[in-house]
Amino acid sequence: MTAPEPVFTHPWHGQVFALTVHLNEAGYFAWPDWATRFSQTLATHGLAKELDGGDDYFTAWLETLETLLADLGQAAPADVEQMRAAWESAYLTTPHGDPVHLKT
């Protein structure tokens, strides 16, 4: 261990982590339940390839959170996809250097 490693290698790793912690602390789910679901996702993903604990770890994390929120009735997959597409469109139509806002 020589060079210090960043805590989150990509901003979205930190964002999905914080979102999950915040929802847990707000009482939407218990952490052991989260750990059980997350373990299952990791085990499933690990069947196809050996996970290196980096991007693939947070990809499994995000998938777990999406499924959990869908099961809780808080964010339906179709709504998430629509919102994702809206953000993509916002990025693609915002001039470089300008702040990106959702068009509502």
Partner: protein, 206 residues
């Protein structure tokens, strides 16, 4: 994937990677429903990037080395002792301290996911979350330790502790020789993150 790379001829804003857009989508939906506070998310990220990390655990170890009463209390009920120091909550609800000796070396893994004592060590490093470490730490701990540069005498035993969502472990590494008379801050500087997971040893004083 289109738009993955920054293109200087591109007139539009740099498109974040696909999972980042999915996270933004969740955030937007939950914020619009009033379920989350975006400022709280920034606060959580800031805390783990800047304030909560292995320095917390290192202070605990250094005090355990220096203060016999603290050491005894820590080994008896680490959860209470570290909570008294302000290191509590968020995956620190139940912490057990395990101490390395000449006879026994302890190392920690989470075979199912990545349970880890966040209040003391922060966010786990990538290797702790990898399939390779999670699978091999239990099966062949000595080989894993050797990969980390830790070669134990054959007569010592290795204990591997599997963390869960309920119980987290903090390894108390052996105090290095040549550290008599050093104060707590100087000792803490010798306590590496890996030494508190058990994949390293405390550093020798320079």
């Amino acid at each position: 994937m289109p738009h993955d790379h920054h293109d200087h001829d591109d007139p539009h804003a740099l498109l974040p990677p696909e999972p980042a857009l999915r996270v933004k989508a969740l955030e937007t939906i939950l914020t619009k429903k009033g379920l989350i506070d975006p400022a709280a998310l920034d606060e959580i990220i800031d805390a783990y990037q800047n304030r909560i990390g292995p320095r917390n655990g290192a202070m605990v170890v250094a005090r355990a080395w220096s203060d016999p009463a603290f050491h005894a209390a820590l080994m008896k009920d680490a959860t209470e002792v570290v909570a008294d120091l302000g290191f509590f909550g968020r995956q620190g609800e139940h912490i057990i301290a395990v101490e390395n000796t000449d006879e026994t070396h302890n190392m920690v893994v989470c075979t199912l996911c990545s349970c880890y004592p966040w209040p003391l060590l922060g966010i786990p490093p990538g290797w702790y979350k990898s399939d390779a470490y999670r699978a091999r730490a239990v099966r062949e701990p000595r080989k894993v330790l050797a990969n980390f540069g830790v070669n134990l005498p054959p007569e010592s035993s290795v204990r591997v502790w599997d963390s869960t969502a309920e119980v987290r472990y903090l390894v108390i590494p052996q105090r290095p020789t040549g550290t008599d008379g050093m104060d707590v801050d100087a000792l803490a500087a010798l306590v590496t993150r890996d030494s508190m997971i058990g994949t390293g040893l405390a550093k020798a004083p320079s």
